[in-house]
């Protein structure tokens, strides 16, 4: 099981191709908002969910995806889904 720091690093790698604001990406914290801060196009949020599913071999159901708007909430969802495996 990855530590929280490792999870953030993996998530950063997943998110990087979709980021439009490189400067905000330098300073990612758990509070970083994918759309408001990183200016990620909302249609790409679904790619992030799909990439996360592939990277961790988990399923992000629609209810979980609804809340995947920040780095922190994504980490929370990944941790929960991994624990359920």
């Amino acid at each position: 099981m990855q530590t929280k720091e490792e999870l953030i690093e993996t998530l950063k790698k997943i998110v990087k191709p979709y980021v439009q604001d490189e400067q905000a990406f330098e300073n990612v914290t758990e509070d970083t908002d994918f759309i408001k801060d990183l200016k990620i196009n909302s249609a790409n949020l679904v790619d992030i969910a799909l990439d996360v599913e592939e990277a961790y071999d988990i399923e992000i159901d629609n209810e979980s995806m609804e809340q995947m708007l920040t780095v922190g909430s994504a980490i929370e969802i990944i941790t929960k889904k991994l624990a359920e495996k």
Partner: protein
């Protein structure tokens, strides 16, 4: 309540692979997936439906302040569609009416609550640069210009603010005693921007 959204089709084509496994299923209802998969140009319908959903979501967010990424919950029906326009409705806690413009370069949609009869004004702005900050400033200048020109008031008497939900509102100072507060919706993507101005009796539709 108003919302508007624009999709730069070339940018969308580069940014997203709609044929990726799971993509359509996560974004679209069964009905919408069927519309896409039976279309002559499926990609066109993907981005038409997406811009419709986004515009309705923005209209809803303006009202509720509820931030959520639940594209399947915004259920679209296309009422009519031609080569250049489409009209639709979206069911999302209530009913929204949508109108879309379709060109080879972009797809732009506006949404209003179904009970409002007045139509919105939408302007499309092609950009020379795709950088966020330039577009952010230029689009705001264009909004002020459009409204102050229409009402013959000095541009300096207009400003755009965001409310507590980060929803933009244009304020026009007509006189020392009269201010107009006009809801606006702003969107940009790739090389295109769009703004919509809420129904206001003082402004042309």
């Amino acid at each position: 309540m108003i919302g508007n959204d624009i999709v730069d089709r070339a940018q969308a084509h580069r940014e997203s692979n709609w044929q990726r496994r799971g993509f359509l299923e996560k974004l679209f209802t069964i009905h919408e997936q069927k519309l896409i998969l039976t279309a002559d140009d499926p990609e066109r319908i993907v981005w038409l439906l997406w811009s419709i959903k986004e515009s309705a979501y923005k209209a809803s967010f303006r009202e509720t302040g509820k931030r959520i990424f639940a594209p399947r919950k915004l259920a679209c029906q296309i009422i009519s569609i031609s080569d250049e326009t489409a009209e639709g409705v979206v069911f999302y806690e209530k009913i929204y009416q949508t109108k879309s413009l379709i060109t080879p370069q972009y797809i732009a949609s506006t949404a209003t609550s179904a009970n409002t009869s007045s139509s919105l004004h939408q302007t499309i702005i092609p950009f020379e640069k795709a950088t966020y900050q330039d577009q952010h400033l230029l689009i705001r200048e264009k909004i002020k210009q459009y409204c102050t020109d229409s009402l013959s008031i000095p541009k300096e008497n207009s400003y755009i603010q965001k409310d507590s939900n980060s929803v933009p509102i244009l304020t026009l100072v007509k006189s020392s005693t009269e201010q107009l507060h006009i809801p606006i919706s702003i969107s940009h993507h790739g090389y295109y921007g769009a703004f919509a101005i809420g129904p206001n009796r003082s402004l042309p539709a």
